[in-house]
Each structure stands twice: as structure tokens, then as C-alpha cells.
């Protein structure tokens, strides 16, 4: 990795970043991302999916909801064989990206929405949905690790906002006339009774739900709770007295010993939901609050741009339903 770029290239890039006015090799401003294209619902089999292309990389994220015993929740797998073997990137352990996604996103999705059958005395193991989020890096010709993180979070967020969980209805054996007493009206709303006539098989005391059925078909369902607060990640690459967004591999290796990257996650409401620091450089303490404030602004601009793009896509899809697939028309 040390002999990846020549000293002449790295010093030229560094001088460009630190000069006034700053000059980057592709003419971008310091706080400008390369053009990003975000697409939602790109896979028909997945419960939620998204594709983010641009900024030198290509992520495809799919979410599959599976029913299983336990409390449910989110599980993340990030598959990036290209990033591991790329000649232009320092190797990132795949577990790091999965772990970051999991620890920063799963607290925002309340667990109760995943429960299908709550635990009962007769069936102490609850049944619930587990969302398996798989992110696949399709290509990364010119993305630095910090850009990969930003685009991965964007793709994961878009796919989680796109996810729909099929609604379920618990089924119980009809136990007898007593259980239909009006005292349990509110609770019985959730329970559909299996048989139409009398005498079901189970004669347990309480209406224990033992099975469930789906109310929705494939692409219908309920959106996830907590989706409004899902954050985007912006990584500020700090070098010397300035900072910039969306580093290319050359820029990220321009001055490793004095540069560091600060990844900040912001929700639409402006709340800071997580941070991650990387790099060998130090950041002056007095700059931290202003860096966080800048990051918040960049995050809000990014979210606005993405929402606009998705709104345009939805309008187009609504007006002229074309075939969906991995390739946008």
C-alpha cells in the first residue's frame, strides 16, 4: 500500500487540497460528493432493496424478512470481495462494516414491530421476523474506504425505508363460548378464530395463539417503525486545517500520517446518531464542534437531494410502470 501512489502524486494532491482556492483533481468543491444515483425497490424478491451508484462505487442492498423463533431484529452481512482484493484500497475487514451497520442502525428499529406471536405460557418461544440485510459491493473503481462507508449507509437506509413487513394475524383454536366474552374485546381483535363452527380442538383456558397467517401479499405490508429517524453517514476527511467529503483513493492516501476521517451519522431531525473515527492523524479538539456542525449541514443536504431523486423516480414509476429490475431504464 505504501508504493501505491508515487510521492509526486500524493504531494501534488495534498497541495491542491490545502491551497486557496482548493483544487481537486476532478474539479469538485471540497464539500461536494461525486454524482450519486439512488434507486429504491430494485429487487422484486426482497422485502426491501436499494441500489446506490456513484462516487466511485456500486452497492446493492437487499433485505429479506424471515420468520423464526426468538425476538427478531436486524442482521447484517456485508459482502465486499472486491474491496478486499482491490489494488486501490487498503483492505477493510468485512466484519467492521457489518458491525458498524448493525450497531448503529438496529437500536433505531423498535423490536416490538417484529413480533408475530408473543410468548405464551404454553409456547414460551416467541415467533418473530428477522430482517436479513445483505449488502453487496458490485464494483468500486475509485472509492476510498470512507466513501464506501457513506454510500453503504445510504443504501442500507434507503432499503430499510423501502422495506415492508407483511402484516400477520394470529390464529387461535376456538376454545369455547366463555372466551368470547366482551371483556376481551380489544385483545380478540388481533386474533382471528380458526374454525367457523363450534368446538375447536384445543381446550386450553386462555386463547393461546399457536399459528399465524399473512394478511398481505408480496409487495404490500407495513413500513418499518423508526424509519423516519434512520440516519445518513457523512465522512469528513480532515487534513491539515481543512476538511473535504468523498475522498478518492489518491486523496485518502495523500497524507496518511496527518489526516484522519470522522464519520458522522445524522438523522433527518439533526440528531447525531453515531460516530466513527479512523486514521492516524489527530484532530484538534477545538475544531470538533464546528466539524460536527458542518457534518450536520452536509447530511441534511444529502438527505434532501436523495429524497428529491426518489420522489422523481416514484413519480415516473407511477406514471408509466416499466419493468423493475437491477438495471434502471
Amino acid at each position: 500500500m505504501t508504493s501505491l501512489f508515487s510521492p509526486a502524486e500524493t504531494s501534488y494532491t495534498l497541495a491542491g487540497l490545502l491551497s486557496t482556492p482548493p483544487a481537486r483533481s476532478d474539479g469538485r468543491a471540497l464539500a461536494e460528493y461525486r454524482p450519486l444515483r439512488v434507486a429504491r425497490a430494485v429487487s422484486q424478491q426482497a422485502n426491501g432493496s436499494a441500489r446506490v451508484t456513484g462516487a466511485g462505487c456500486d452497492w446493492l442492498v437487499g433485505i429479506r424478512a424471515e420468520v423464526g423463533p426468538g425476538e427478531g431484529g436486524l442482521e447484517v452481512g456485508v459482502d465486499s470481495p472486491i474491496a478486499q482484493n482491490s489494488p486501490t484500497l487498503p483492505p477493510i475487514p468485512p466484519a467492521t462494516l457489518s458491525h458498524l451497520l448493525l450497531t448503529l442502525l438496529s437500536p433505531l428499529l423498535p423490536l416490538q414491530q417484529f413480533t408475530i406471536l408473543p410468548p405464551t405460557p404454553s409456547a414460551p418461544t416467541p415467533k418473530s421476523y428477522t430482517l436479513h440485510l445483505t449488502a453487496l459491493l458490485l464494483s468500486s473503481p475509485s472509492a476510498s474506504p470512507s466513501t464506501l462507508l457513506d454510500t453503504l449507509f445510504l443504501a442500507a437506509r434507503t432499503s430499510l425505508r423501502d422495506t415492508r413487513l407483511p402484516r400477520t394475524r394470529a390464529l387461535a383454536y376456538e376454545a369455547g363460548e366463555k372466551e368470547k366474552a366482551s371483556g376481551e374485546k380489544g385483545e380478540l381483535d388481533r386474533f382471528g378464530l380458526k374454525t367457523k363452527g363450534g368446538g375447536g380442538r384445543g381446550t386450553q383456558g386462555a386463547p393461546g395463539a399457536v399459528d399465524f397467517e399473512l394478511e398481505d401479499y408480496w409487495d404490500e405490508g407495513k413500513e418499518l417503525e423508526g424509519r423516519e429517524e434512520l440516519p445518513v453517514c457523512v465522512t469528513l476527511n480532515v487534513v491539515g486545517p481543512t476538511h473535504y467529503l468523498d475522498a478518492t483513493p489518491l486523496e485518502s492516501l495523500a497524507s496518511p500520517s496527518t489526516s484522519s476521517a470522522l464519520s458522522l451519522l445524522f438523522s433527518p431531525s439533526g440528531t447525531l446518531r453515531g460516530t466513527h473515527t479512523w486514521g492516524e492523524g489527530e484532530v484538534e479538539f477545538s475544531r470538533l464542534p464546528s466539524l460536527i456542525a458542518h457534518g450536520r449541514r452536509y447530511a441534511q443536504d444529502l438527505m434532501k437531494g436523495v429524497d428529491q431523486q426518489l420522489a422523481v423516480q416514484d413519480k415516473v414509476a407511477h406514471d408509466a410502470p416499466a419493468s423493475k429490475g437491477y438495471f434502471e431504464s
Binding site: T2, A95, T96, H99, T103, L104, P107, S257, S260, L262, S267, G270, T271, L272, R273, G274, T275, H276, T277, W278, G279, E280, G281, E282, V283, E284, F285, S286, L288, P289, I292, R296
Partner: protein, 276 residues
């Protein structure tokens, strides 16, 4: 009947086991203790720190930290040569954090659950900006951390380990730009009136809505790691960071005192030997 652990030649214990329940634990529901206000110290007070270096003689440098009920030991081996890797002009830092099986409330199996790569990543990131790795080509520094008791939660452990490892590295004679200190703050959930709690215990950490760990070099006024998890509202970060930096300077004083004591003890020991 034939489970994988059944050994017919030995007396086998029960297949599953659970920790015992004590009567006084039963009477306190766990949720109420978390929201109880801190009684033994002020919200911006740290727990008293005991730090001693040089306890592990086989290692190049070592440090032991104890703050009330958190205890950890750090051993530094190196700088030593990297054997089977190609030449690299910069040294490598390897951090390995392991929990002792008895460190937390539930037992961790020695080989499966004990190691924590997540903690190791954060600690390595905290230490990296302070080390002059370009002076150690083809060398590696191994930092081994053993957590003997954990009453701080993951955030608190990262900050404690960062401070202790920095003292151990200094005790090993590794050249550094400055000592790294780590401090953690927890923002309690809105039911409590307090704005923030420094150096939270694990119960306070579990009940918090956000935790912030800052690892900094107070001597240089710079930050090596900032780890936030939870929800930090707009405008809160300024106050939290300043409180953390102030506390970091106190911890720095403790580290410096421990290192100076070790150096003086070493000097008086060598003078005593020279006089004989």
C-alpha cells in the same frame, strides 16, 4: 442422552447451569436501580483511579488500572520484528482485548466469547495517532488487554483501556507524541433531570440514551477518537465535549504521576545496586 459433552469415563456435571439468584437481588427490580440518581459522587466526577505500571515483569511494559469495580491489566510486547510479512516502512500496532470469563455478570466462555474485536478496533484507533510508527519499520507492537472486571460498559472500557494502554506503552519506552487519555459520558434518558454523567457504571450506561467516548491527547489538545452511540441532540455536543476534555486532563495527571513514580523507583533501585 448422549450429548456432545457426555464423557462416560468421568463424572459429568449437569448439562445446563444457571447462576444462583440471591434473595436481595430478587427484591430489587433491575429497572429501578438504573434510574436512581448517582449518590456517591457528583455527575461530573470520575471514579477514583488507581493506576500502576510495571507489574508484569515479562512484558516490555505493563499497566494495571482499577476504578471502583472496573479492573483491567495491559501488557505491551515490543517493538519486535514482524517475522513473516513483507517489508513495510511503518510499524504495526496490534491490540487484543480479552475478557476474563468472570469479568461480567454472565460468564463468557474462554475461547468463544472472550475476545472482543470491536473493543480492539476502537482502542487501536485511539492509540494510533499518538505513536510514531514511522520510526519502527518492519516492527510490531503487541498490546494485550485483559479485562478482569467490567463495571463500565463497552464505551467506558474503551476509554479506560486507552488510558491504561498509553501508560503501558510509555512504561515500555515506546516513543509517543503524547499520552492518550479516554473519558466516557452518558446522557441519561429524559426522565432524569441531569444533563450528563461522566464515567458511567454499567447500570448507568445501560439506562442512557447516548454515550460519548472521547480519547484525546491533552498535552497537544487534540483528539484521537470520538465514539458516539445513541441519540445526541443538536447543540448538546459542545457541552459534552468540553466536560470530557476537562475530565481528560485530570486523568492525564494520574497517568503522569504513575509514570513518574515508576521512573523514580527504577532510579533509586539502580542507584542502590550501583552503590553496592
Amino acid at each position: 442422552m448422549a450429548s456432545a459433552l457426555f464423557d462416560r469415563r468421568r463424572i459429568n456435571g449437569p448439562e445446563t447451569s444457571h447462576p444462583p439468584l440471591y434473595e436481595d437481588e430478587l427484591s430489587q427490580p433491575s429497572t429501578s436501580t438504573a434510574s436512581a440518581a448517582r449518590t456517591s459522587r457528583a455527575p461530573t466526577d470520575l471514579r477514583p483511579i488507581f493506576l500502576k505500571t510495571g507489574l508484569i515483569t515479562a512484558a516490555s511494559g505493563s499497566a494495571y488500572l482499577e476504578t471502583e469495580r472496573t479492573k483491567l491489566a495491559v501488557a505491551v510486547y515490543g517493538p519486535r520484528q514482524v517475522k513473516n510479512a513483507p517489508y513495510s516502512s511503518k510499524g504495526r500496532l496490534n491490540v487484543e482485548c480479552k475478557y476474563a470469563p468472570f469479568a461480567s455478570a454472565t460468564r463468557r466462555a474462554p475461547l468463544k466469547d472472550a475476545e472482543s474485536p470491536h473493543l480492539s478496533t476502537h482502542v487501536a484507533q485511539a492509540l494510533l495517532p499518538s505513536l510514531r510508527l514511522e520510526l519502527l519499520p518492519k516492527m510490531q507492537l503487541d498490546v494485550h488487554v485483559t479485562i478482569l472486571e467490567d463495571d463500565s460498559g463497552e464505551h467506558g472500557l474503551v476509554s479506560a483501556i486507552a488510558s491504561t494502554a498509553s501508560a503501558a506503552l510509555a512504561s515500555a519506552g515506546v516513543e509517543m507524541k503524547g499520552l492518550v487519555v479516554g473519558v466516557t459520558a452518558a446522557m441519561p434518558s429524559s426522565s432524569s433531570a441531569l444533563p450528563l454523567l461522566l464515567d458511567p457504571t454499567s447500570a448507568e450506561a445501560r439506562a442512557a440514551r447516548a454515550q460519548v467516548t472521547l480519547c484525546a491527547l491533552p498535552a497537544l489538545g487534540s483528539v484521537s477518537e470520538l465514539w458516539v452511540s445513541g441519540a445526541l441532540r443538536e447543540g448538546e455536543e459542545q457541552g459534552v465535549l468540553e466536560a470530557l476534555m476537562r475530565a481528560g486532563r485530570d486523568v492525564h495527571g494520574v497517568l503522569v504521576r504513575a509514570l513518574v513514580e515508576e521512573a523514580e523507583a527504577e532510579r533509586s533501585r539502580s542507584e542502590g545496586e550501583g552503590a553496592r
